[in-house]
């Protein structure tokens, strides 16, 4: 067995592919949580978007339309979340979980109804890899970052865009203000609920893009629960990344890399005949992320959690 192949270019390419859907959702979640809204419906948004992306590409033949369909569905579910959390001000943990349960049911039902008559499970054609000239030949980074399909590039640009939105625009400043001290923000003329609505829509769009990238950019088909818990991992990664979109993105890449690594170690070490139980390898990404998260929290001097996270804003009535 060749150990050198465990830590090669293949590992990092695999890591990026595995990580991207989760990373997109996590960056989106960090945006909504900075505004103070806890979105536990992320897994549901990714799953519905995944189905929408698949159906969109299958019936139109266009990968771009599939991705747009996924993003649109993500935004629609985010609007539902906003209606429940920001307008009706219901408990954010509960309404988030309700959205996940709803999504799991509706996607299984819809997929079965839409494709029941087919003899063969439906698929969509894979995207071509784009070799960026010159950059793709940089040893190490080249084949990992500059030899991927177009959706990976779109994803990287989108993450950069969200960071810019949060830290370099007035809207981003409102988002951060509203998540820390909504009363103060409201008192200087900010609209807390409107900002939270919009932050959730950004989150939904990112979750939708994540679900779409999983289907259109990677596996090219749909199956029940195809997101397999990525939304939940994304939520944990926001805490890991201390609510900073770039660190969150880095954390997601680390998680994906470790996952790709453990699959490769399993392949090398002999699987059924391995001395170390395979469950240990499966736990490795979670263990690593948890360790880094705990260490970072202990080492930092102050909590990075937005002060008003999860608390609906109610305007005080004063005479």
């Amino acid at each position: 067995m060749d150990w050198s192949l465990v830590l090669g270019v293949g590992l990092f390419r695999s890591g990026v592919q595995l990580a991207m859907p989760t990373a997109l959702a996590a960056v989106g979640e960090s945006f909504s949580e900075r505004a103070g809204v806890l979105n536990l419906g992320l897994e549901g948004m990714m799953l519905c978007a995944a189905l929408a992306a698949f159906v969109g590409e299958y019936y139109t033949g266009s990968a771009a339309l599939g991705v747009l369909a996924g993003v649109a569905v993500g935004v629609m579910l985010a609007a539902l979340k906003a209606f429940l959390s920001v307008y009706l001000k219901t408990e954010q943990v509960i309404n988030g979980i309700a959205i996940v349960i709803f999504a799991q049911g509706i996607t299984a039902f819809a997929y079965e109804r839409l494709f029941r008559s087919l003899q063969v499970s439906p698929q969509v054609p894979p995207l071509h890899t784009i070799h960026v000239p010159i950059l793709a030949s940089i040893p190490g980074i080249g084949p990992v970052l500059f030899d991927q399909n177009v959706l990976i590039y779109v994803s990287l640009l989108t993450v950069a865009g969200v960071w810019l939105l949060l830290y370099r625009t007035k809207f981003g400043l409102s988002v951060r203000a509203v998540g820390e001290s909504p009363i103060a923000a409201e008192s200087v003329g900010g609209h807390v609920d409107l900002v939270r609505w919009l932050a959730l829509l950004v989150c939904g769009a990112m979750a939708g893009l994540g679900g779409a990238v999983l289907i259109v950019g990677d596996i090219n088909l749909f199956g029940p629960n195809v997101t397999a818990g990525r939304g939940w991992v994304a939520i944990a990664l926001v805490i890991f990344g201390r609510w900073n979109p770039l660190i969150v993105f880095g954390g997601a890449l680390l998680f994906g890399m470790t996952d790709a690594l453990q699959l490769r170690i399993q392949a090398v070490s002999g699987g059924t005949l391995a001395a170390v139980p395979y469950e240990f390898f499966q736990a490795l990404p979670y263990l690593l992320t948890l360790t880094v998260m705990v260490a970072a929290t202990v080492a930092s001097k102050r909590s990075a959690q937005p002060f008003a996270l999860g608390v609906p804003f109610r305007r005080e009535v004063t005479d």
Binding site: Y111, V120, L214, I219, L221, V226, A267
Partner: protein, 322 residues
């Protein structure tokens, strides 16, 4: 007007010949943990049950994408039992739910898949996928160019473990130098991880694959197409999903199993038992469009003769559960 209608009705009743009593259909309920069109586990059970319904042997009710925790499955079985179902087939490893439901509905026949405890009116039916996997191993020995074969499994539990081992033993029975790599995905539905695991094994030179689990199977098939490798389909006929790359599929044929249960119920002889039809419940379906490599004719002959030997009982495929 009314008188005419009444007289017509009376005359119709009076003149009709006595209807021949048709054999009553057995009321069957099928509980599936996935959609009926998943191309694998649930689709095969659905097809088999549908065939019995088309033949007029059963009245079928289906719940698909059912929640998979014991409490929910117990409730679904109980609801069907109370609703008049004579046989409830809970198509997954639902032993606990089956016995829980049997406690409150002792007169309803309940069957769960995968082997295990039986008793009262609770039966189980076996999934001997390890037997066609042995045949797949023989084929793999003839087409692998690297001498390394791969196996992907959702979890390491007996049905899957035995399948991986049988694939290895079948290949090594022809060429003892063949090595196998196996990976556990950790999820029945994670297609992307299944694909990445296959690619990781391909980086380790594996070029023929077998898989246990619907999600990982879809991922494996995607990886086969990407790297032009060979593999076998899981439970359903997945040959047309990658016509050039699929060597064949290990197709679970539940029709004879379900038919045996229905027959026992109709005859009044049903008791809780283990329905084990061995290799007859699995069709090893080779793919005529497979083109990544050529299967040597002597390998094909060996597959045929081994299949006959297994069916006639002269050869037993080793069953290694751990």
């Amino acid at each position: 007007m009314v008188a005419t209608a009444v007289s017509l009705t009376v005359s119709a009743c009076g003149n009709s010949p006595p209807a021949a009593t048709a054999p009553s259909k057995v009321k069957v309920a099928l509980i599936l943990p996935c959609p009926t069109n998943d191309g694998s586990w649930c689709q095969q059970a659905y097809i088999a049950a549908q065939q019995l319904q088309t033949e007029g042997l059963i009245d079928l009710k289906v719940t698909s994408s059912a929640p998979q925790d014991t409490v929910s499955v117990t409730q679904i079985i109980q609801r069907y039992a109370q609703g008049g179902s004579q046989l409830v087939i809970a198509d997954s490893t639902y032993q606990d739910a089956a016995f829980n439901a049997a406690a409150t509905s002792p007169n309803t026949a309940i069957a769960f898949s995968g082997g295990g405890k039986v008793g009262g009116k609770v039966s189980t039916f076996e999934v001997p996928i390890y037997q066609p996997a042995y045949l797949a191993g023989i084929v793999a020995s003839g087409i692998t160019k690297t001498g390394v074969i791969g196996g992907l499994s959702a979890f390491d539990f007996p049905i899957c473990h035995a399948q991986m081992e049988a694939f290895r033993l079948g290949a090594q029975s022809i060429k003892s130098s063949i090595k196998q790599v196996t990976t556990y995905i950790g999820d029945w539905n994670d297609v992307a991880k299944g694909k990445n695991a296959t690619l990781a094994q391909a980086d380790q030179k594996a070029d023929v694959f077998v898989v246990c689990g619907g999600g990982p199977a879809s991922g494996m098939i995607s990886a086969l197409q990407e790297r032009n490798l060979s593999g076998f389909g899981y439970v359903g006929d997945q040959n047309s999903l990658a016509p050039k790359n699929m060597v064949g599929s290990l197709v679970y044929n539940l029709y004879p199993i379900f038919k045996a249960m229905v027959k026992d119920i109709a005859a009044g002889t049903y008791t809780g038992k283990d329905y084990d039809l061995g290799l007859s419940s699995f069709n090893f379906v080779l793919n005529p469009s497979y083109s990544v490599a050529t299967i040597p004719p002597d390998i094909l002959a060996k597959v045929q003769s081994t299949q006959q030997a297994i069916l006639s009982g002269t050869f037993t495929v080793p069953y290694i559960a751990k």
